[in-house]
Symmetry: C2
Subunit: 328 residues, 2 copies
């Protein structure tokens, strides 16, 4: 079931779902759209630049802030220059003192937290959406930490409007204080993760998916702020279970196999015991063992260094109530 953080339900209707009719929330007026948090994930870079060029700062009730999160990494067309910016937004790292030896990305995280947060405060932007790409065949995914009903409704809305590509939700079950990525800075937040797209390459089809996701989010915010009631219901979400590393040569620790062709490009297709997952360079097949789970981030480029060939998830059904804006 969808968790909701304390303080977000402002009208006292929180309680067991079957007792709730409609939950009301304050308006979601201040919307931050960030790109280039990873400098070689191009959709967000060009999306943010285009919105800045067109001076899109206000759409109806929604004020929009666009941010190029990691300009040095964008210029170098690298994921990051010194450390992964999108692992810098835990409470501990955001409260650590800045010294001469602080990596560029951690200093940048403090700047972003000052501009868009501070994380966990009343001053934080109402909604933060961070734009990412993956080399995995994941279509359009929304990634959340603890689910909240605003972001779940946005997900449901986008899913109902986009039919050209699968739209899915991924939940990382991590406490707010430990939440490490940029979207955790907003009062509400999620990442768009869109692929497949090679790092450093810009594909029009993927760019257009990201643009459609952003446009639909703004559309939803407008309708929500203007008083529309959004009906409750159910959605499916994938909850992170564990990561799987590549088979490695015991002598050199180098990878000894590639993702099996039957798994490659089949993100979110249920993996059963005995299904092939790796093909070694000498031609042997490695099979999945253990419980049935859903693979995602299959052959994501950036995860080689994190020793992850793919993640596995459980699928669950999330039930959530109708919501509407809180009247003054």
């Amino acid at each position: 079931m969808a968790a909701i953080e304390e303080g977000k339900v402002s009208d006292g209707l929180a309680g067991p779902l079957d007792q709730m009719e409609c939950v009301s929330f304050p308006p979601v007026n201040r919307f931050a759209i960030c790109g280039g948090t990873h400098g070689n994930e191009t959709s967000g870079v060009y999306m943010v630049r285009e919105m800045q060029k067109q001076k899109i700062e206000k759409v109806g009730s929604v004020s929009i802030t666009t941010v190029l999160s990691n300009p040095r990494a964008v210029d170098a067309c690298k994921r990051y220059t010194e450390t992964d910016l999108n692992r810098c937004f835990t409470d501990a790292l955001l409260s650590a003192p800045i010294t001469d030896s602080t990596p560029y990305e951690l200093r940048r995280a403090h700047e972003l937290n000052a501009q868009l947060g501070p994380k966990g405060s009343e001053e934080a932007v109402d909604l933060l959406c961070d734009l990412h790409n993956t080399t995995a065949n994941m279509g359009l995914c929304l990634i959340f930490y603890s689910l909240d009903w605003i972001t779940l409704h946005i997900y449901k809305y986008i899913q109902s409007k986009i039919t050209s590509v699968p739209v899915r939700a991924i939940q990382l079950d991590i406490a707010p204080s430990e939440a490490y990525s940029l979207e955790a800075v907003g009062k509400h937040g999620f990442a768009f993760e869109v692929g497949p797209q090679p790092n450093g390459v810009l594909r029009a089809d993927i760019f257009n998916m990201v643009k459609e996701g952003v446009d639909l989010t703004i559309e939803w915010l407008q309708q929500f702020n203007s008083g529309s009631t959004f009906e409750g219901g159910e959605v499916e979400a994938f909850t992170f279970a564990k990561s799987v590393d590549y088979p490695r040569d015991p002598a050199t620790s180098e990878i000894a196999a590639a993702i099996h062709p039957q798994l490659q490009d089949n993100d979110f297709k249920l993996l059963r015991p005995g299904d092939p997952i790796f093909l070694s360079f000498s031609g042997e097949t490695v099979k999945h063992e253990g419980e049935e789970l859903y693979p995602f981030f299959v052959n994501e480029c950036a995860y080689y260094e994190k020793k992850t060939a793919f993640h596995l998830a459980r699928k669950s059904t999330l039930t959530f109530p109708s919501i509407r804006v809180k009247k003054d």
Copy 2:
């Protein structure tokens, strides 16, 4: 028509093609297979490592040298560290003195030229095959400089054996002294260019294409050296005509459009005047103008920095004679 470099036909049969029955060549015994010339093109890296692990140094009449061309770039998973190694093999650069300020890759080019060449000399390996990947949807391509009949026959052989993916030939019409890439160091040489594969990602399907190409090359060399006659005939090849840059913002020089979805992934599909080639971030279509040509390297990651969105080629038919090994 296929050009053949002076000195390669050793039995005096060179001449107008209709006068030739069968051209003979010395055995092609010494075969060098190079990978990691670009450090983030993984097929060659893992192919070379696997052959070294399996100690594949001799297959029948063929002695095999495997080389990881740019180990620093491989370790960093970058195309190169200081300058593009695969632009360092011109006669001028290979004869330039090495100084303290010489980039790593140029020093490495001198080492490779000493190991596998020297370029243009009798000591050079008989055949050099360099393994590359592209983010473009190019299938399996063999890239040659001036075509010679050994490499054309290898191309024809591979094309006749691989049916799962298109196999094509690309000719760069560049004089030997100006030939800048590693394969120019061998007496005969070509690059395998295989895609689509993101930089830094290893796909089993692409790895297997590269492996099949290498295995078939070795098979051909064995048959050639053992006295088989290979029948002449015709093949199609694509000859580089020109490069096309992205539309750019006049103020910032940043790219203002992506490859159009109708061109993306359609390498080698004839481009006619009026066909869409770019889609701007604000939604406008840019169309192809001028003569009908064949696009290739469409949206190749590494060519963003070279200001190339795609190359264009002419298609031609190459006629070549039967060949056999020269008897002592």
